[in-house]
Amino acid sequence: MSARIIQSNETPFERIAIDPITLDIIENALRNARVEMDATLVRTAMSPGIREQGDAFPLIADHKGRMIVGQFGSYIGPFLDGYGGTVEEGDLIMLSDPYSVGGAVSHCNDWLVLLPVFKDGRLIAYTSMFGHMSDIGGMVAGSMPIDASSIFQEGVRIPPVKIYKQGLYNEDVVRLIMHQVRTPDWCKADLNALVASCRVAARRVVEMADRFGDDIFVSACEELLARNHRAMGQLIANAISEDKVSFEDYICDDGMGYGPYKIKCTMWRENGRVVLDFDGTDPQSVASINFFLNENMMRMFFGIYMIMVFDPQILFNDGYYELIDVRIPEGSLLKPRFPAALSGRTHALGRMFDILGGLLGQKTPEFLTAAGFSSSPHLFYSGFDKAGEYFQLFQIGFGGIPGRPLGDGPDGHSLFPNFTNVPNEFLERYFPLVIERYETVADSGGAGLHRGGNGILMSYRFLEDGKIAIHDDRWFVPPWGVNGGQPGARARKILEKPDGTQTIVGNKIEDLEVEADDVLHFITWGGGGWGDPLDRDPALIVKEIGQGLLTPQGADAYGVVLTDDGQVDAAATTRRREALSAERGAVRVFDFGPDIETLRTRCQQDTGLPAPRQRLWEDVALAAE
């Protein structure tokens, strides 16, 4: 099965040699068009998730569907391979079902629109964008039930459908979709915004082809891809060894009491190509933490990391895809079988970046970054206010950026690109909430020469009875430190009643009832530290204590001894550091903290929560028969 492209003009494009200057001009123009897509979306979308937090991703691809500009790489190839319909002028395709498109989107909340761009009867490019909808129906508000056991519980599932067919708007199908969701106004506006963004970019592409000529435009896209292929080929040859390196990290639990789930990746170079083999990754979960990882998306993640770590000047596109061989075992957490639930995939998605960092830096520790790409902590709060109006909040939280070769990890920032917080005054104005505290947590960043960023404490006072759900990770397996840096603190959630009693609540929970005046303390992870904390300037420790980013107790991890008036006791510090250094020995490249079994033993005591239990994979295998 493969899509049929219908063109009224079947003349093939002619490959024309492009001078380097025209090429650079077309590349710049495409980049500008992509910036316009972001701007259009942000200005017209309505859900706080998209308009304030920026949870949406644009791309412009060539006529074969390969990404020329964008972020996550192109899913158009796999989509066309699996789509049985036609692609015609005036069509606009929408979809959300990961299983229909090989994981092009990885959960049903991401609505994707795809606009084939035609010029003079010929398909000349694609523009596309997907964005996270606040609600798509299903068993819980926000549509990401952590305890779902199949995708059918996760809301409306949209296979590729044409919402415009040869220019005609298919109102019925859009009405059918909007009827399934709790927040149709937001979804309608956000869908409109996605479409408007793709149209803007399509207009730019046609203008560019007009300006330079169709053949030149298409040839330029080819050449941009080829240029990237050459650059990445060189980078791979220089930076990736033929010796195998492996790295493992974990998802703490699945929200059903089981965990942690291991993700393992082995990397090596073979015949000029890189192999990324996920053999050894745990089997899929019965809950929704599965991450249907599209191979192209993994190629793009890898490419972006290579570029950012080794040479940030290169612009990335899909050109180097064939240089990367991604192998993911069927039935694993990263390639679950239909109809496994997928909505809680954000944790495994985020963990990919820690794994990439760990893999790429192993042979070149000076380029290594620490861990802390926790995922995106989510909070959902919904109910009916005193006037009987339904409210529904979906908020993405942030945390500590890991320590980096460049310096400290910023405190309480976002690892995902272009995300920002929703202003608290906005939250208080439009939701029944008071945000009592909004600060970073002292000592939560892992100690290091470059300190990991602190996690965030956000205290939500609920003004109405309602239900909340929390999705977070890195509460059990800490974010690791590197080159002597220590792990960051783990995430925690505390519910405080008006009488002051506090209860620790889980980090992956659904449908927790809250009452007016309850306060939820939502605490996120701290980033891992980078480099030996015993080398950090003691004056900086004193300064950060004054800033409230570190406590006097937190100074211990740096071997800094303070005088009674809070200054550095230089002599005592030197002695203390020498003693700590001797006791510890040489620094290790990775500091993962205690091993999994020790974490389990100490879990209740350290986190206030029962330890996740080990899944018995044999049972799963039997059940799957």
Binding site: T44, Q313, E425, F426, Y438, T440, G548
Partner: protein, 687 residues
């Protein structure tokens, strides 16, 4: 006779433009800037230009000034040390900075996080809380406030900012803290967020208030010193400063609200372009202000520049009205290079700056720049600045040759490539403010100014389809001209956030009238006669739930007669124009704004003698330049000798003291009645 003097202080040069108001005659002067104390350079210029015009400083009635002193204080971190008082639980608001990390996926690995403008150790929390309806949720505790202010006092801050949660709805708590601060920290200036910016969004409001506090002492010192020096030189006239939004304010007002000066520099060029446009009969203009390291672009529609609510300086986005000027790192000093890995030709954003500068300037620069490419191609003839220094053509050629070698193309193709890329970057910035905002660039003329604008304006106009390409009179000092020709302005804004269905024209009109009274009083206090004051109103509208609003101009009469529905109807039209669709959601009236303007001075431009169309009298010499893939014969003209109606066929170059205008091969330039050069496609090329 009445004279007004416009002065623009740039990084390299201080430009002065002296106007005689009745005849429109003017004198211009350029003198090196004196960065250690800009007022020195200004005084040098003042003396020189008065000598040229044969007047004394006492003859100058108004001194109008665009300055980057506030901008530089922010960019160079030389602002005052600001203490910050926030609501309990919010001490790290500036540290968290909305959690934003720029640079795309994995961009965090290489992002250097800037330090907060108010240091965390100088930030203190107080108890007490307002809710989102402006009601007191918890009262203040005076003992607690006093203790925190005492602690802050011990830290030795030079200015204080108070920014509390929801203060945009109720400033009572901030006001009380301000009173106690005056008592405990006497002599320390206090800024309250609900006064500086009564708008929702705690981070932006705090940042703006802190920025205001940080630049206040620096701007105050500068303005007072300048005032004294001018008085000392015998200038008794008024001193006004150009605001980021293109209006003027008295120097006294600017000391209180310096955050309005952050884009004062670039605003001068835009207001200058408006004056030129008025005289040239061109009402829709895109501006292209090309300097050494960067290019500023702006859009003028119907002789009014687009404004935005956010001023961006360095990494800071401050909420203060500014002309919608976009800056791109592409200028005469931008360095061309070919990265080894990709073999692509890149130009900028790295710049050779003023020092070492382009190779052709012979000040030690060795890397090829845009200016060097212009020299190689013959677009910049050997002499700049009226012949006071010669360009090093051989050096420029050698530098550009390195690019040609890396790309394996010939010298001229490489030089032209550098120009094409830098033009493309300018084009990208122009698109952002035009096409991207729903404007058709073909409805606009493109005006190039600043040192290098007239060199690029023809080529960029071709990319945009924006004709004519305009090289205005005295393009090198257009900012100073803008300073000299704009008018007084003040504005105020309020949050309204009400659904259109839950209010009416009368209710909105009542608030606007109240705001009018306030700003009228302000301008009158600044010495503007009540009869000369013009009031304009703007209402920000959006579909309820959107994050961005569209500012709509309204009149009180229209609101009274036709109500809110007429306004929301116009908003729907505008939304469709901008974003291609409308929604059936409710409309929300978000913010109200009132602007008070002083009288627009109707300064005439001096008329040129009328010629017969033949520019031969202005011809300096024959020349040769590279265009359309070959060397071509061209002519160099002296701008000072051009007459009205002269027609110049391209390729040609027009030179003057501080700027060079390039007319491309298939274009033709006409000199208008006041000396602007208007370039269009030659009739044959048009077809």
């Amino acid at each position: 006779m009445a004279y007004r003097l416009g002065v623009d202080v740039g990084g390299t040069f201080t430009d002065l433009l002296l106007f005689e108001e009745s005849s429109g005659s003017f004198w211009r002067h350029k003198t090196p800037s004196t960065p250690h104390d800009s007022s020195e350079g200004i005084l040098n210029g003042l003396t020189a230009i008065c000598a040229k015009a044969e007047i004394t400083p006492a003859d100058i009635e108004i001194f109008l000034h665009g300055t980057t002193v506030a901008t530089n204080a922010v960019l160079e971190g030389k602002g005052a040390r600001v203490g910050l008082i926030v609501t309990e639980g919010y001490r790290q608001i500036m540290q968290i900075a909305r959690s934003f990390v720029p640079g795309g996926l994995a961009g965090w690995i290489v992002w250097p996080k800037p330090q907060p403008l108010a240091a965390l150790e100088d930030t203190f929390e107080i108890r007490g809380r307002m809710n989102a309806r402006g009601e007191e949720l918890r009262p203040l505790n005076e003992a607690n406030i006093r203790a925190q202010l005492e602690a802050l006092k011990a830290r030795g801050v030079e200015a204080l900012t108070v920014s509390l949660m929801n203060a945009y709805l109720n400033g009572a708590h901030e006001a009380r803290v301000g009173e106690l601060a005056a008592e405990i920290l006497p002599g320390i200036p206090v800024s309250l967020s609900h006064v500086v910016l009564p708008e929702m969004q705690e981070y932006e409001r705090t940042l703006t208030t802190v920025a205001n506090a940080a630049v206040r002492p620096v701007v105050g010192r500068y303005v007072r010193s300048l005032r004294e020096k001018l008085r000392g030189a015998g200038m008794a006239g008024k001193l006004s400063l150009l605001r980021s939004d293109g209006g003027l304010m008295t120097s006294e007002k600017s000391e209180e609200h310096p955050v309005s000066l952050l884009m004062s520099g670039p605003a001068g060029g835009v207001t200058g372009a408006i004056w030129v446009g008025k005289n040239a009969g061109i009402r829709n203009i895109l501006t292209l202000d090309v300097g050494g390291t960067s290019t500023d672009v702006a859009l003028i529609e119907n002789l009014d520049a687009r404004r935005v609510r956010t001023t961006e300086v360095g990494h800071l986005a401050v909420r203060a009205s500014a002309l919608d000027v976009k800056t791109v790192g592409a200028g005469g000093g931008s360095i061309a290079y070919v990265p080894e890995l990709t073999g692509a030709l890149r130009v900028g954003p790295q710049s050779a700056g003023a020092v070492p500068g382009p190779v052709a300037y012979g000040k030690g620069g060795t890397l090829p720049t845009v200016t060097d490419a212009n020299v190689v191609l013959g677009y910049l003839p050997e002499a700049l600045l009226g012949g006071t220094f010669k360009l090093d053509r051989a050096g420029a050629t050698q530098a550009v040759q390195t690019i040609a070698d890396a790309l394996k193309i010939d010298l001229y193709a490489a030089a032209r490539g550098i120009i094409d890329i830098v033009n493309e970057n300018m084009f990208g910035a122009l698109r952002m403010i035009s096409v991207q905002q729903g404007y058709d660039a073909r409805d606009f003329a493109l005006m190039g100014f600043g040192g290098a604008g007239p060199l690029h304006v023809n080529a960029v106009a071709r990319l945009m389809g924006s004709w004519p390409a305009v090289s205005p009179v005295s393009p090198g000092v257009l900012c100073a001209l803008g300073d000299a020709t704009t008018r007084m302005r003040t504005e105020t804004a309020r949050s309204f956030s009400t659904l259109a269905s839950q209010t009416d024209g009368a209710a909105v009109g009542a608030v606007l009238s109240e705001m009018e009274a306030q700003i009228r009083a302000e301008l009158e206090a600044e010495g503007v006669s009540p009869d000369d004051i013009v009031i304009e109103f703007e209402v920000d509208v959006r579909y309820s739930g959107q994050a961005f609003e569209v500012p709509m101009t309204v009149t009180l009469a229209d609101l009274a007669e036709r109500g809110i529905a007429a306004l929301t109807g116009r908003f729907d039209e505008e939304h469709r124009r901008l974003f291609t669709f409308n929604m059936d959601s409710e409309h929300e009236i978000v913010n109200l704004r009132a602007v008070a303007l002083g009288q627009a001075l109707d300064l005439p431009a001096a008329q040129l003698p009328v010629g017969d169309g033949d520019p031969i009298a202005a011809k300096l010499r024959d020349h040769e330049l590279y265009m359309d893939g070959r060397m071509q014969p061209a002519v160099i003209y002296d701008r000072a000798k051009l007459r009205a109606n002269d027609r110049i066929a391209g390729p040609a170059i027009v030179i003057e003291m501080d700027s060079t205008t390039l007319i491309e091969a298939d274009c033709v330039a006409t000199v208008d009645a006041v000396g602007n050069i208007l370039i269009t496609l030659a009739p044959s090329a048009d077809a």
